[in-house]
Amino acid sequence: MTVDLPAATSEPPAIDAASDPSSGAAIPPPRWRHRHLLDVDVLSWQDIELVMVTADSMKEVLARPIAKVPALRGHNVTILFYEASTRTRISFEVAAKNLAADVVNVAAATSSVTKGESLIDTIRTIEALGADTIVIRHPVSGAPYLAAETFGGSIVNGGDGWHAHPTQALLDLYTMREHLAGGSLAGRKVTIVGDILHSRVARSNIWTLTAAGVDLWLCGPPTLLRGFESWASRGAASGRRFTVTSDIDAALQDADIVMALRIQRERMAGGLLPSLREYAARYGLTSERLETVHPDAIVMHPGPMNEGVEIAPDVAAGSRSVITDQVANGVAIRMAILYLLAGGGRG
């Protein structure tokens, strides 16, 4: 399955080019039936495959001398972030610009979440200013659903509270498949270590990775795993392998993929952790600790990293690390998502 994208010079800049027989697409892509990307839980495996294959095409675009296609020319992508972010915001911006979209950046001060203009009013204003797609990041879980209720175009969830970070989970999946021989994740042991409780990355990855049939392990101090046993046990009933443990040695043993999550300083203030030093000593990914993983195992991190806390600098920069690949693939995945939501996958 391939998705053909028009070259940078092709005219007209049709979003539907890929499904237009006259554009020369060899195989029409399956239907993309989602208006928004709010979470990965509603994506079928076929949807996920479509994102992956579309991202393959986007990677080809990125490899061109001029890494740009006019697929979204005239399309306004507004990036509305209520939380500080460098990597995700820039990744979406680069992705949108590579598709020739007009990009508007709105850095909403965090304070305006609790006072001043309501989210609904902000969305209405942005809509009136011509946005076709809004990428929203917000500190309150579920906020993108409120935006989607209000907005006439498409909402992409760029991370909401503890809830979801769908493009991260998709780029993680893409990166895992790229690095595993055969590309299949079924039965592979994937271990996510760190602050699971507060992690939207972990939550979205749980959906995609259980759908991919991995042997999923979540590991961290008990205070940062609270509630996840209930999620793991629902997986067990359907034959899925999903383990929640504080035993880092068991979690890393023979793992094919190890993902570290960021530990934030405010967890100490909240009484959830004694100290960063203690966390690093007990759960930090060091080269010694990684001696028991599968010989070809890869190490991932969604960033930003606290080197020396959840991951040792030599591991982050080591041969197992695919962290910079995650960043690069993030652009391709976000191009794919923006493209599909704008109509690129409609049959």
């Binding site: 839980d41 979440v113 609790t114 309501s118 989210l119 609904i120 917000h138 309150v140 879980s141 579920g142 906020a143 659903y145 409120l146 989607a148 209720e149 909401d160 509270g161 503890w162 809830h163 979801a164 939207r200 939550r203 609270r226 509630g227 996840f228 209930s230 999620w231 629902r234 009933a237 359907s238």
Partner: protein, 470 residues
């Protein structure tokens, strides 16, 4: 029902002449129910004529029901201070529409009802509303509900409050609770506590469990409610040694564990009463994820059985205590059935649209409940989860027993007393919409849902409180 004489009447007018013929009368006070003709004249319940033989033929408990007017132990009427959410007048109109003839107002207004002047203002607003629905007032336990100094409990008692509560928050410390139980006990009045451990509940958006975990909502453990209930009972037991009249009422109890503690305390003869809300009986945290099935139909995992039919994070579901698991909801239902819960109380918490049309975690907590309580409870009856008599008892004689003499009137279908009753039709459903609700607070997750038992008529103290338009 011959409502022709009623049709042109204004709210508050004395019901001069009314006959409800061939209804199913339910009188929880006498324990009797059956086919009856009910006659009201000059505001007095003249006769409940129980029918037998041919006259009773074809009349069953699936049609028009006549019962004593409903009593709500827990309603937020918002005036003074939050009149955009509710006023005394709109709240009492909502009560009438819901079949309630007495509501107990909570004191967390702005300013709070912590002195006699605010109480006088409440009474004036009730009189001005023209509604015949009775309003009983709770006073605050502490000045400004701040949890530190005792409010003017004696002065408020002299003014006729029915008890004291810092509801919206628990009585902050065990030390203040001990003083309050002692002092209020001396006045013959209960402390009505909102059982919550504020440390565990800080920032809580949902109840701990699968739903909160998957949705990334800050969960509060059931232990937060249970720890508070255990504290309250322990303090009560201590206080009773000095003040045998001390009494504790625990409101909106929502967890199986808290109900076990209360059942145990009752079993030991302690003067503890409690209520549960219709939403903690009939809804569960599955709704947060987008399920819309009754709690007794739920599995606890709406992702696995295709139960997700609505968008997640509806702010109409943000309430404190949060909607709990299907197991907790089942325990609340059982508590109503077995009497561990003395009453069903609405915790009617209307909010203005601007306080709910925001992100879930920023939304005001509360559900507008006076108008949907009866229908929600009748849904449990229709599902065979609760007997009709027991359901109506929890809305009438149950709360009346909690109030005792403070209610100021007998409860039941009592011939010769001022007519105080509700008539509703179990065979007729109605759809909850912004237009069918008369409360200013349309913040209910039941919007768009059809509920059984449309209220036809509410008569409070012999006067008209509500009549259906057609």
């Amino acid at each position: 029902m011959s409502a022709t004489a009623i049709a042109g009447m204004a709210i508050g007018e004395v019901v001069a002449d009314l006959e409800i013929a061939g209804a199913w009368a339910v009188d929880p006070a006498s324990g009797r129910q059956g086919p009856a003709d009910v006659l009201v004249a000059d505001g007095i319940l003249r006769e409940v004529c129980w029918l037998e033989g041919d006259a009773a033929a074809g009349i069953d408990d699936g049609g028009v029901i006549v019962a004593p007017g409903l009593i709500d132990l827990h309603a937020h009427l918002r005036e003074p201070g939050n009149e955009d959410a509710e006023t005394i007048a709109s709240g009492l109109a909502a009560a009438g529409h819901g079949g309630f003839t007495t509501v107990c107002a909570m004191p967390n207004t702005d300013p709070p009802l912590d002195d006699a002047a605010v109480l006088a203002r409440l009474r004036a607003a009730v009189a001005a509303s023209g509604s015949p629905v009775g309003v009983l007032a709770h006073g605050a336990v502490t000045v400004g509900r701040a949890g530190e100094r005792l409010a003017a409990l004696g002065e408020l008692a002299d003014g006729g409050v029915i008890g004291f509560s810092d509801d919206g928050a628990p009585v902050r410390t065990a030390a203040v609770l001990r003083s309050a139980l002692l002092y209020a006990g001396g006045l013959g009045l209960p402390i009505v506590d909102h059982p919550e451990d504020v440390g565990l509940a800080e920032g809580a958006e949902a109840s701990d469990g699968l739903i909160a975990t998957v949705l990334g909502l800050r969960g509060v453990a059931s232990a937060g409610e249970e720890a508070a209930v255990a504290r309250d009972i322990a303090v009560l037991e201590d206080v009773l040694r000095d003040e045998p009249r001390a009494r504790l009422h625990l409101t909106h109890v929502s967890t199986a564990g808290a109900l076990r503690l209360i059942a145990d305390a009752k079993g030991r003869g302690l003067p503890v009463t409690c209520d549960v809300t219709p939403h903690h009986v009939a809804l569960s945290d599955e709704w947060l994820a987008g399920a819309r099935r009754w709690a007794w139909e739920g599995s606890g995992d709406p992702w696995s059985d295709g139960a997700l039919v609505a968008a997640p994070y509806a702010t109409s579901l943000r309430v404190n205590p949060p909607l709990r698991s299907v197991t907790d909801a089942a325990a609340c239902l059982t508590a109503v059935a077995d009497g561990t819960a003395d009453a069903i109380a609405t915790d009617h918490a209307p909010h203005a649209v601007v306080d709910k049309d925001v992100e879930f975690g920023l939304a005001a907590t509360g559900i507008s409940g006076l108008e949907t309580a009866l229908g929600t409870v009748l849904a449990a009856v229709a599902a065979g989860r609760l007997g009709l008599g027991r359901a109506l008892a929890a809305l009438t004689i149950g709360p009346a027993a909690v109030l005792g003499q403070r209610l100021g009137r007998p409860v039941g279908l009592i011939e010769g007393a001022p007519a105080d009753l509700v008539a509703f039709d179990r065979a007729e459903s109605w759809t909850v919409t912004a237009d069918t609700l008369v409360s200013r607070g349309r913040n209910t997750p039941l919007l768009g849902r059809s509920l059984p038992g449309r209220v036809l008529l509410t008569v409070a103290g012999g006067r008209l409180a509500y009549v259906a338009e057609d």
